[in-house]
Symmetry: C2
Subunit: 230 residues, 2 copies
DNA sequence: TTAAATATATAACATTTGTTATATATTTGT
DNA sequence: ACAAATATATAACAAATGTTATATATTTAA
């Protein structure tokens, strides 16, 4: 199961792992702690890259608007994730937008500092390029799921994935805390239709909800649901 | 319109453009012409990279199998496109598979030769990384379309896109020549359901078919169809 | 704290898509 | 050129999803 979930996980929380003590110190030295208010854009499609972010607390959504203007979320970043490096590496503009879903605490590394780090730490550049390759595979997997799976299977997968990603560093049970709108935009359905699926899941006993929080009660059953062939 | 279509085009036919004469010669020198039979895998998910390919004639599909085993095509390469460089850059295994849809003529560049070229031609490395960023955006756009658009809109978009990509170097009208199965796996539906949409499009007069070939008769009308909000 | 704004839940109905089945056309291998 | 295999077309029905509408809960801002 965990193996399946990593196919949908950018693993961008691991970028600064496996550095030597001195390399790590060099990274820490150029990190600037920032707080960012809920609803603020960290960056937006077409904008010029300023640097990269590591989230220390809170969540942010990465999305694109389709040509008809609808928002499509394709990733939700959380604690320890690093983001914003694609455009920087390629010296181009942002391909997508990123917005804080909650008040955030982040560490920011300015563009020039980061490019200098990449020169000084070849292993970091290598890790980054590897990771971009991995992320490419993640997007391809998401395409497969959206194209082939029905709504309940997609919901089951994303619930398992979000639970895994949001709460892996946490002891306490926190559940999945997203607006219905964001969750619908992530799995590719309407809010009303999502509500119907959630109701079914509740009746089956896989999940419980409290306010907008979703708690997974029976992961095994969700795994069954995501096997559904279309 | 063309602007919209480039959002769904990897533009991997442009990788060796903008090289100096001597750089171009260096590239040509390490290219090995090969013919590849229809149905052959150029590479497959999990395999170790051997080199990169530039297609000189024919088409190839890039796909992934979802965890339930279904094939999801996410790109179709055609004349002049270069492919296979992701895994090579990141020194990792292939994230996806690629199969010849017709007998192919390709130029192959072996892994070591290509890595040497990248060192010798910094502009090429830069172009490559930039392009990977662009491809990332393309996948995100595909995700948005698959998640938000209904089948007719998806079909309209992909027909316009395939026509644009397959026939931009050609004077003669060649149409879109894919099996119904491949086209269905590209737009994320079943073959039968695709057939129904094609029939509707024929009745509307947007397209005509001859054998499996699809000819676009009224691109404007297809553009209307793809505006459909879900 | 309260009123207004926003978010969520749910139902009924319309539309789209999946599924199964069968017939016909086309391609492939001998 | 022929038979067998494969691909395509189509219809009828079932299931899933979109859409509209309304009610209730929760959050936000004065």
């Amino acid at each position: 199961m965990k193996d399946l979930l990593t196919q949908f996980d950018f693993q961008s929380n691991l970028l600064f792992e496996n550095l030597s003590e001195s390399e790590n110190q060099a990274v820490q030295n150029v990190m600037e702690p920032l707080t960012i208010k809920k609803g603020t854009m960290l960056f937006f499609e077409g904008g010029i890259p300023t640097g990269i972010f590591q989230i220390k607390q809170g969540k942010a959504k990465k999305f694109k608007r389709s040509f008809s203007g609808d928002e499509q979320i394709f990733y939700i970043y959380t604690q320890e994730d690093v983001l914003g490096y694609h455009a920087l590496l390629g010296q181009e503009r942002y391909q997508d937008s990123c917005e804080a879903l909650e008040d955030l605490k982040v560490n920011f590394i300015a563009k020039d500092d980061f490019l200098k780090l990449l020169k000084e730490i070849p292993a970091l550049q290598q890790t980054l390029i590897k990771n971009i390759g991995h992320e490419f595979g993640v997007l391809a997997n998401i395409i497969a799921v959206l194209a082939q799976k029905n709504q309940n299977a997609r919901l089951a997968l994303f619930l398992l994935l979000l639970e895994y990603r949001f709460n892996r560093n946490s002891q306490t049970v926190k559940g999945i805390d997203l607006t219905r709108d964001d969750l619908a935009n992530l799995i590719g359905t309407s809010q009303e239709s999502l509500g119907r699926s959630l109701k079914q899941f509740k009746e089956l006993g896989c999940i419980e909800t409290d306010k907008r929080n979703i708690y997974i009660k029976d992961p095994k059953q969700l795994e069954q649901l995501l096997q559904t062939k279309i």
